[in-house]
Amino acid sequence: MTSPKPPTDNGSKIWIVAIVVVLVAGVVAVVLARGGSGDEEVSGQTGTVQVGDGSSTTGDGETDTTAGDTGSAAALPEYDATLEEDPAVGATIPTVTGTTFDGDELTIAPDGTAKIILFVAHWCPHCQREVPMLKAHLDDVPMPDDVQLLTVSTSVEPSADNYPPQEWLDRVGWEAPTLADDEAGTIAKAFGLSAFPYFVAVDADGKVVARASGELTAEQFDAVVAQAQG
């Protein structure tokens, strides 16, 4: 006859193992993360923006009220892809002035040149797919001489994926002049952005001829360029 096994204290052992795993994970995390934060802010990724001919915003999006607005074109209505007719078509684009990532001044204005304005966010996976696709397409089929391609980098978030935007666009080989929006997304709001990526096609008179959001195919992009060209 065999005697019953004495009860083992497996319950305590399992909880001790679980607690040790948690403690070891904590220690390892602290040691490995000591190297520093991977999402430190990089200067120049957002800029100081001036909307119209006078009112300006600082890098954090606060409006500088010392400058007066001289009555340039109003902000475009927010883009609604579900509408059959875009109410912004025919409206003159607002004049916006800011800086590139390198600090050079850049103005987007109704200046007599047709243009495509592409709004991108570094963290947006659709932008991360669209920009390299357009880069490859433009290497094969460059923009026509009479249509300018401009980019606005907006909605910058240092904690999010693919930061900083300047490094991303450089890595892709994106050559279009890029305006750094402020932290409040003032330029994006002025152009009625509602989703990324966002395209605004402007004719030589400075009037909106088409807007689109989301990933465009190369053919769709060419069609938008043709609309801007008139």
Binding site: A29, V30, G36, C124
Partner: protein, 186 residues
């Protein structure tokens, strides 16, 4: 506390959870083919079963605290799919915690349903991260579900961590044996 360290801490725990899940699957599948593996499986289950509900509640608690840290301290706004996963994970702390204290067999089924639903949402969220066009052709500027706020070791994003937690809870619930029947409870 340093945000990177906390995120890495939860990533390490998620990796440990994945390791446990893989071992459990190997034991479960291998146990059908090999008598030796079957013995290991039975021994492991024997050891874990009495504590499984409590451990599962602990996993849910850690996942809940991690989720709250990411949104309330790290300031990563939860997207729509994150909220669905929260809806599944947060109640598990109470359901499994109370079940562990009362040794209530009914908690296993309720917990498994919640964890299963949460795991399904996590898998869909992972697919949306990998293939953004599954949900939409564009990014909502406010907070699209395709944005990766965290990505450790090239694959461990927030829904991947959530899926690790749900999977471990399901494994623990599979191992759990009720010590009190519903009839006895009644």
């Amino acid at each position: 506390m340093d945000r990177d360290a906390v995120i890495l801490f939860f990533a390490l725990l998620a990796t440990a959870a994945q390791a446990v899940v893989v071992v459990a699957i190997v034991l479960a599948v291998g146990g059908r083919a090999s008598a030796t593996v079957a013995r290991w499986r039975d021994a492991a289950r024997e050891a874990v079963a009495p504590q499984a509900l409590g451990l599962a509640a602990g996993v849910a608690l850690v996942a809940t605290l991690g989720s709250l840290y990411l949104s309330e301290v790290a300031d990563f706004p939860p997207c729509r799919l994150c909220w669905f996963q929260r809806i599944a994970m947060y109640p598990l702390v109470v359901v499994l915690g109370v079940g562990a204290v009362r040794r209530d067999a009914g908690a296993r089924l309720t917990g498994a349903i919640l964890a299963g639903l949460g795991a399904c949402v996590s898998i869909w969220h992972l697919l949306v991260e990998r293939y953004p066009t599954l949900e939409s052709g564009s990014c909502d500027p406010t907070n699209p579900c395709s944005t990766k706020w965290v990505e450790e070791w090239g694959y461990l994003t927030i829904p991947a961590m959530a899926l690790s937690g749900f999977a471990l809870i399901l494994v623990l619930l599979a191992a759990a044996r009720p010590t009190v029947s519903p009839e006895e409870l009644a």
